[in-house]
């Protein structure tokens, strides 16, 4: 028996959870984009130490499971550093650093996919590194980066559910909480799955469309 009242009676909690999920999705994607741009450009520089730092950063966050990163930042880092890290900051830092490493790779691949002749031509008319990047390379790279960025951002929204493990009251955390006192996990988790589908399926379709139009523009 599927009891809808379990959902309707607790719609307020689910709503709060959803807002938290969306909030974390937006702020960690924003921070991740800034971080990714920074790390990506560092990796493309010609200064070896910076390049190596960028590579270490990327491989570090891409290869450690996100759940481990989150738990480490929340439980282990405070002990090492002797500081107090709230669950919000731990979640924010862990998720942003994680997605930033993927964005950095997308940026790097995007820039490298631009014909080197473009750099030659821009350099030949006397443009500096910054002018070249800003005016010639990045505008062309961004076009190709839109589909993978959209894809990674959709994954990021799903990844925010891991926040529940460090007791950030996101959608999944609220679902667990509701089922703990209603004993109706079936209804609650079905609703959570449904909510993600309703939000992400249209976004996925949109990013496919972008991908197609991007392919045409090329």
């Amino acid at each position: 028996m599927f009891d809808y009242t379990v959902i309707t009676n607790n719609i307020g909690l689910l709503w709060q959870g959803l807002l938290m999920t969306l909030y974390f999705t937006v702020i960690t994607i924003s921070a991740g984009l800034v971080l990714g741009l920074f790390i990506g450009l560092i990796q493309l520089s010609t200064f070896r130490p910076l390049v190596i730092f960028g590579q270490i950063y990327v491989e570090f966050f891409r290869n450690i499971p996100l759940l481990v990163t989150l738990l480490w930042v929340y439980y282990a880092f405070p002990i090492f550093a002797g500081v107090n890290v709230t669950k919000f900051w731990a979640g924010f830092i862990g998720l942003s650093c994680y997605v930033g490493s993927f964005y950095a790779e997308i940026l790097r691949a995007g820039v490298l996919s631009v014909d080197p002749g473009q750099t030659d031509a821009a350099t030949a008319i006397g443009m500096s590194y910054g002018q070249r990047m800003r005016r010639i390379i990045l505008p062309q790279a961004f076009k190709k980066m839109i589909p993978p960025l959209a894809g990674q951002s959709i994954i990021q929204m799903k990844n925010t559910t891991l926040l529940s493990t460090i007791t950030v009251p996101d959608l999944l955390y609220q679902a667990g909480y509701i089922s703990s006192f209603t004993y109706r996990p079936m209804e609650i988790y079905t609703a959570v799955g449904g909510i993600f589908l309703v939000i992400l399926v249209p976004l996925t379709l949109l990013s496919r469309k972008l991908e197609k139009s991007g392919a045409l523009a090329k």
Binding site: D115, G117, Q118, D120, A121, A122, T123, A124, I125, G126, M127, S128, Y129, Q131, R135, I136, P139, Q140, K143
Partner: protein
């Protein structure tokens, strides 16, 4: 029309001034010695054509002139300003700031085999980009001058088209205008016609002859020996990273001495035998 300063009448009175000097340019890629000490100087208003077999280092040499390739050693002087100087094996090196490098570098214009136009900009924007962004000219001034140059290249009707809407020949002429917009002291061409369909080659050559007539100093890499014969004041034969022979076009193309140059121009030579009366008449007309 009003051409860049390099083409003002004054240069012809002072035609011995060296605009470009290369001293013992060496270039290595890993263990591979591509250039082994090339000396070359180009006078103001002179048109020098570089020929040589594939892999002889023509592109590499051209890219050294504006430091797209950094020579392993050697010296580069452009209009009495040292752009690069490094002794072979030694530490002594002229250090000029990246900013200065960019400034001196922008006094050379380069035209590439693959055009390399900026695809996200119209023809007009391509030509205005350097003057506006690098030289900080006003948009109005840059636009006016860009339209003049595009006009000179016979592209009045295409100024607001994107590169993908233009034929190869049109794209290459936009690329020439883009390089000219920086008012370069010397123009460098790397096989500007070899990516073009045969029927489009002529229009680009015509545009280049037009620049030469206006006194532009040019260094041209080409495999079109007929074109070299027509446009060059001097032909330089590059062989295995060294200048093997150089001289006036009729000397190099019709009476070569170096054995590899002989075989290199062999085919041209055969057809030139048939064309000799015509070519000699053209040469007489030229001087």
């Amino acid at each position: 029309m009003n051409m860049p300063s390099a083409t003002s009448p004054a240069i012809h009175e002072n035609a011995t001034r060296e605009i470009l000097q290369l001293h013992r340019i060496c270039l290595q890629f890993g263990a591979k010695h591509v250039l082994k000490g090339v000396d070359l100087s180009v006078k103001e208003g002179e048109v020098v054509v570089l020929i040589g077999a594939s892999g002889s280092g023509k592109t590499s040499l051209l890219r050294c002139i504006n430091l797209l390739n950094t020579p392993t050693s050697g010296g580069i002087v452009i209009d009495e300003e040292v752009l690069f100087h490094k002794e072979a094996g030694g530490q002594r090196q002229t250090m000029i700031s990246a900013q200065e490098t960019n400034r001196i570098r922008s006094s050379t214009g380069m035209v590439f085999q693959q055009f390399n136009l900026f695809p996200h900009m119209t023809a007009l924007e391509n030509v205005m980009e350097g003057p506006v962004i690098v030289k900080k000219q006003s948009k109005e001034q840059a636009c006016k001058r860009a339209l003049e140059l595009l006009g000179l290249m016979g592209l009045e009707e295409h100024v607001s088209k994107y590169p993908r809407q233009l034929s190869g020949g049109q794209q290459q002429r936009v690329a020439i205008a883009r390089a000219m917009a920086m008012q370069p002291k010397v123009m460098l061409f790397d096989e500007p016609t070899s990516a073009l369909d045969p029927e489009l080659v002529g229009e680009v050559m015509k545009a280049m002859v037009e620049l030469a007539k206006r006194g532009m100093t040019m260094v041209i890499v080409t495999h079109e020996l007929g074109f070299a014969f027509e446009i060059a004041d001097r032909v330089v034969f590059l062989d295995q990273g060294l200048v093997a022979e150089q001289g006036p076009p009729d000397k190099i193309l019709l009476h070569p001495e170096h054995p590899r140059l002989k075989s290199f121009v062999g085919r041209f030579h055969e057809s030139a035998d048939l064309l000799r009366p015509f070519l000699e008449a053209r040469q007489a007309e030229k001087s």
